[in-house]
Amino acid sequence: EIPQHSLPVIPDSTTSLALSGSYVSNKMINKLIQVHDKIFCCIAGSLADAQAVTKMAKFQLSFHSIQMEAPPLVKAAASVLKELCYNNREELQAGFITAGWDRKRGPQVYTVSMGGMLISQPFTIGGSGSTFIYGYADAKFKPDMSREECLQFTTNALTLAIGRDNVSGGVVHMVVITEDGVEHVVVPGDKLPKFHDE
């Protein structure tokens, strides 16, 4: 049996603000898209492009899982996104973090960058606010954290990023994916942890 680890998906730091120019068009948008039962994608960049790509990927994955008669591997999902991003790299402006759980490798995180690069990492951050939390994430991440520690790490990291990035904010969405299923956690802005300057 694959050892159980829960793996909170770390949403990209443009948490739930959707912008057109400098106008905030939506403060409650969920940037975590489910592409299969236990595989989610965080989107960054042009939301229109990201939505189009994930819709296509969702279709391809459900077809793939019917053909294979098994849920798709997280790597397969990430690969599908990568193919779409790479082959249409001139037109698209979207990056993704794909994370989920499968029977073969357990919890995994993959980054698909804007140009179409695909890499696997123990954890990853993305989006405009992510530059501010590289130091924090590097310092505080430890491999094999528990579910509670992961949730705390993610909430803290997002709160710090929101505190410094003017285009991140709103509501924090998190999804915990384990062998047993998927759980949504939503933290509104006023319930986020406070740091020294507040």
Binding site: P122, T131, F132, I133, Y134, G135, Y136, A137, D138, A139, K140, F141, K142, P143, N156, A157, L160, A161, G163, R164, F195, H196, D197
Partner: protein, 218 residues
Amino acid sequence: MLEESSLQPEWLSEEVSTGTTIIAIAFEGGVVIGSDSRVSAGASVVNRVMNKLSPLHDKIYCALSGSAADAQTMAEIVNYQLDVHSIEVGEDPLVRSAATLVKNISYKYKEELSAHLIVAGWDRRAGGQVYVTLDGLLARQPFAIGGSGSSYIYGFVDAEYRQGMTKKDCQEFVVNALALAMNRDGSSGGVAYFVTIDKDGTDEKCILGNKLPTFFDE
């Protein structure tokens, strides 16, 4: 017609910048000010061991970032102006005076210069103080970060800073922050310099690259 490649390497025509990560933090009774040591001209590192912490007076230092030439010149000029000022008043200058002199230059020549100095030190009147002079403003802060590498550590310093840190806590804070920024920023690197200033004097330290704190991926 094919373009002629230059007879000179590219880096000779790039502006030399102290890419940089600089940080200063005040504690009860003094300050710790720190920096990395990389000076870059475009993609080349032209000096990997530069000390960007420049003394403005016995117990007042500044940390340089931005254009190397502009920053060094500003520091030299303020050093001279502070010497004159301290002779005129007959005692050691205040940190705020030093910061004001830096600010005056930053503000007056803001179109021409592109350097940012963080001023930190100790004086008898207000103890340890840290001032930022970015773009010609003057503001006192409990701690300050600057330079290209500082973007990556905003989250870290926001999370780790607490009021009432001791001298040792501050030194660790500075070294950890510098190490994290140096790992992520291409324009920061080399060794970490830091200076601790309190009523008893100034203590300059250098931590070599391989002795810096390491994190999960190293």
